[in-house]
């Protein structure tokens, strides 16, 4: 049915998954950093964090991808000669993709994490301090485990949006499953078949993610009080 293109599309699917997972790791790091900035009492740090979150969330993913991928490459090659490097620098689309997606979704996650930290009752950290824990201990033993519980619904949402947004990286030439499907569609003149197959693969990816994250949510909510309606 897929005329022998099935395996190359599966290769692409693997790349899509890899791109999504690595970008998410970068996004979690930037998201935590962003949340820490935005919750910081130091005013210029908070303003910096707020600007990052507001500006990135106000611009379409596609524009940011084109800006960072083409614009970034262009900038690197305009600046490089100034510091005495004359070869043309070609940025690897996977690396560029990971940083672009990580940078975009770090902004969205900073919002999720900030809300999650603020949802923890103040008394929790105070109780930790009263037990003689250091600030780091309070952070990692009291705040982070509870923050994860509050952050999971927002995180799930962001992960699903990120997974689907990886399709856009095919526009700048990363050979993910969308790219492979386009090549196959052009070669066989059967675009519907291949795009439908890719849609199915994305649906599998999002469905599995939903199940896995729902399980995780249950794990992290053990012992949490739920009001029965």
């Amino acid at each position: 049915m897929l005329q022998g293109y099935g395996s190359t599309i599966l290769d692409g699917a693997w790349l899509t998954l890899l791109l999504a997972l690595t970008s998410m790791a970068v996004a979690i790091f930037l998201g935590l950093l962003g949340a820490a900035f935005r919750l910081s009492p130091i005013r210029w740090l908070a303003a910096l964090g707020d600007t990052y979150a507001t500006v990135i969330r106000g611009i379409p993913d596609l524009v940011l991808i084109l800006l960072i991928f083409y614009g970034g490459q262009d900038m690197v090659n305009r600046i490089a000669p100034m510091i005495g490097y004359d070869d043309y620098i070609d940025i690897n689309p996977f690396v560029a993709g990971v940083f672009t997606m990580g940078f975009i979704f770090g902004a969205y996650l900073s919002e999720t994490f900030r809300g999650a930290f603020m949802a923890i009752p103040k008394g929790q950290a105070e109780a930790g301090a009263a037990y003689g824990m250091s600030a780091m201990q309070v952070f990692f033993r009291i705040l982070v485990p509870q923050m994860i519980r509050f952050a999971i619904p927002g995180f799930t949402n962001n992960w699903l949006v990120l997974t689907k947004a990886t399709a856009l990286i095919s526009v700048v030439g990363l050979q993910d499953m969308m790219f492979k499907a386009k090549s196959a569609a052009d070669a066989t003149r059967e675009p519907f078949t291949f795009y439908l197959a890719v849609a199915g693969l994305y649906l599998v990816l999002t469905s599995v993610s939903l199940l896995a994250l729902r399980f995780l949510e249950k794990r992290y909510s053990v012992g949490a009080k739920v009001a029965d309606l």
Binding site: P60, V63, Y70, G71, A199
Partner: protein, 232 residues
């Protein structure tokens, strides 16, 4: 100077044209998406699985696949079938504007339906009981009690969806339309200055986003005034 905005300045009319195309696509897809979302939301709150399941499946599949794939399925994919190429609809399906609006409308209808269904389900039970006690029929209950309050309460979430849609319209540039992103791609390719071209596009989107946020804040102040915190 490493930045050169002279060319951007000269090409501003192209960007303005792009703004109009972006707004046109946005408004058309939002209008059709919302009118499709309302019946879907009513199906999604139905207790009958025969009514609920098809709507659930529709929103699940649309929300579980990337917008780009949906757009390509409609714009490139449908041309694969001879009966579509031979049908009276072909002039529409071969137009990028029509396909982009159709794909965006379908996409936003699924997200909006879930927002409205959530809002309908969150109606305080007392309001429904009161309406029933007043002897309202089912359709009157929906027209006078459920929908007016659910649509209002959906406003904050719907404003997020509208902004997401504004950003989604940038995909129209992939199927050759000259919206804001399309204008930036044209400028970028013509003068080879991707950085300035896309930064400018980003600023236009940022401005439109802020305007939309502001408009929705005003709308909330008008229609959600009863839910605002009481002033001291």
């Amino acid at each position: 100077m490493i930045f050169d905005y002279q060319m951007i300045w000269e090409n501003l009319p192209l960007y303005w044209g792009g703004v109009l195309v972006t707004l046109k696509i946005l408004l058309i897809s939002l209008a059709f998406g919302l009118s499709l979302a309302l019946p879907l939301a009513l199906m999604r709150v139905s207790k009958s699985p025969w009514v609920n399941f098809p709507a659930w499946l529709y929103t699940y599949v649309i929300r579980g696949t990337p917008m780009l794939v949906q757009l390509f399925l409609i714009y490139y994919g449908l041309a694969q079938f001879e009966f579509i190429r031979d049908s009276f609809m072909w002039p529409y399906f071969s137009s990028a504007t029509f396909c982009a609006c159709l794909a965006f409308a379908i996409n936003t209808s699924a997200y909006t339906a879930e927002i409205l269904a959530g809002s309908l389900k969150a109606t305080p039970p007392g309001e429904i009981e009161a309406a029933k006690a007043m002897g309202m029929s089912r359709s009157k209950l929906y027209r006078r009690i459920l929908l007016p309050s659910a649509l209002r309460r959906a406003l904050p979430q719907y404003s997020n969806e509208v902004i997401m849609m504004l950003h989604t319209t940038s995909l129209a540039s992939i199927v050759t339309l000259i919206d804001i992103t399309g204008a930036a791609r044209t400028v970028s390719a013509q003068y080879y200055m991707p950085f300035e071209a896309f930064i400018t596009a980003g600023l236009f989107y940022l401005a439109l986003t802020f305007i939309l946020v502001r408009l929705f804040k005003l709308a909330e102040r008008r229609w959600l005034a009863y839910m605002a915190p009481r002033k001291a």
